[in-house]
């Protein structure tokens, strides 16, 4: 336990202290996180991200994220994730995830920085609440084929599920959750990247959509929230 604590401290050496330092002067400001999933589908045209103007680093944004989660409104059935497939090629049915809380994330496996950062928080939730599940919906079906996701998930915890699908099916799923993403050509040897919003979406054991956790929300905050909701 002590070892884990030290590891965690080593991590927040670069992140946590920054949060602490920022908490005071940012407390009254709203975070620049994306809106929660729209009640009705909101088509979002992919936009060019080739804007050369300096942007805040994702780390800085994460560091400025506050725990001020909005109250959970009336639960509603989780937005559809239709026509997607599991790594073994079988059709995915969101209803199969009922019975436990599920955190839904839209990302892509060839994402070496931001996605692992968020998935690391998800793994932290898994450790505290092992029955929690996660669903990784790729926004990069070209590279994240079922075969590729099959190998990728073999390195992931068993309660992390990954789905892919046709570009159209993934776009519809993303729109349902208010997720924006766009392919960006790069100069990198690693090829194109996908720009994408990076919130986590909570679907409860009854298949009800409850809320979004903005990018940068820490595992501990999610755990506390899930425990409160479950006790609720």
């Amino acid at each position: 336990m002590h070892g884990r604590q030290r590891v965690a401290l080593a991590t927040i050496l670069t992140m946590g202290l920054v949060v602490a330092a920022c908490a005071g002067d940012d407390a009254t400001e709203t975070t620049s996180t994306p809106a929660a999933p729209a009640a009705s589908p909101v088509p979002t045209a992919p936009t060019s991200s080739a804007d050369p103007t300096p942007q805040p680093t994702a780390a800085a944004v994460a560091a400025g994220t506050e725990t001020a989660l909005a109250p959970v409104g009336d639960p509603r059935p989780a937005p559809e994730l239709a026509d997607l497939v599991l790594p073994d090629g079988s059709p995915f049915d969101l209803a199969d995830l009922r019975g436990h809380d599920t955190l839904v994330y839209f990302g892509y496996t060839h994402c070496p920085d931001v996605c692992p950062m968020t998935l690391g928080e998800v793994f932290g939730v898994f450790e505290a609440l092992p029955e929690t599940q996660a669903l990784f919906v790729t926004v990069d079906p070209e590279r994240d084929t079922p075969e590729f996701l099959d190998e990728w998930t073999s390195y992931m915890p068993d309660n992390l599920y990954a789905v892919t699908g046709s570009p159209g099916a993934i776009r519809r799923a993303a729109d349902n959750y208010g997720v924006k993403y766009a392919r960006v050509e790069t100069t990198s040897t690693a090829g194109y990247t996908m720009s994408h919003t990076a919130d986590l979406y909570l679907i409860d054991a009854d298949g009800q959509y409850l809320r979004a956790y903005p990018f940068g929300t820490k595992a501990e905050e999610i755990v506390t929230d899930l425990e409160q909701l479950q006790a609720g």
Binding site: G3, R4, R6, V7, A8, L9, A10, T11, I12, L13, T14, M15, L17, V18, A20, A21, C22, E29, T30, T31, S32, T33, P34, D51, P54, Q55, P56, T57, A58, A59, A60, V61, A62, A63, G64, T109, H110, C111, P112, D113, V114, P116, M117, G120, F123, G124, F126, F148, W152, Y155, V184, T186, S188, T189, A190, S195, T197, A198, K218, A219
Partner: protein, 205 residues
């Protein structure tokens, strides 16, 4: 918000790194601190005397576990420039990757995360450049071997002005690492020093 947040981040990170550096010096001053000084292969050799000459000092480098060769790895560190001159990290190379690039993750106005290759990472005089998840990072592309937690590999860093340095990075599991019970904390006394600094820093803040 974002601009102030970034500045605050830099100040905070700088104070952390300064504390770390003090702790490292203190460790180095102990004659029996052989293991700990081994960890500081990236530091200036003169650190053994307890005094750090001005230069670029790499603090707490690490890379995330990356089991699949098809996926890029990422390496992070703090580069402390305590000289009077601005410098920049302009390139890197490693035996574990065919190509090593410098990248920056950022959030655009619509809340989308983007990652872009950069030609250099600025290392302003008397400041700490923080390479961290969600920010600047070193990307390891075309891995020649999986990056496995609790192992190490070499990374050479090329600077605009300063002499190149080769550092040794530990590989750590996961982004938040809370999963990893027996991770890097057991490698050296480094984590203990961080514990101390955490407490001190929190007290000062």
């Amino acid at each position: 918000m974002t601009r102030r947040t970034m500045r605050t981040s830099l100040i905070s990170a700088a104070s952390v790194a300064a504390g770390l550096s003090l702790a490292l010096s203190a460790v180095a001053a102990q004659e029996d601190g052989a293991d700990e000084t081994g960890m500081m292969a990236s530091m200036e050799p003169a650190a053994e005397t307890g005094a750090m000459p001005p230069g670029l000092h790499v603090v707490d480098p690490w890379a995330r576990e990356s089991p699949m060769l098809d996926l890029a790895g990422a390496a992070y560190m703090i580069i402390r420039n305590d000289t009077d001159a601005d410098d920049a990290l302009v390139g890197a190379a490693s035996p574990v990757a065919e190509v090593v690039e410098l990248h920056l993750s950022s959030m655009d106005a619509e809340g989308m995360m983007s990652m872009n290759q950069v030609m250099e990472i600025p290392l302003p005089a008397h400041a700490d450049a923080v390479l961290e998840p969600g920010g600047y990072h070193v990307m390891l592309i075309g891995l020649t071997e999986p990056l496995v937690a609790d192992t190490e590999f070499e990374l050479s860093l090329e600077f605009m002005t300063a002499e190149p340095q080769t550092i040794v990075l530990p590989v750590r599991a996961g982004a938040s690492m809370v999963m990893d019970d027996d991770g890097m904390a057991d490698d050296t006394g480094m984590a203990d020093d961080m514990d101390m600094d955490m407490d001190e820093e929190e007290g000062e803040d």
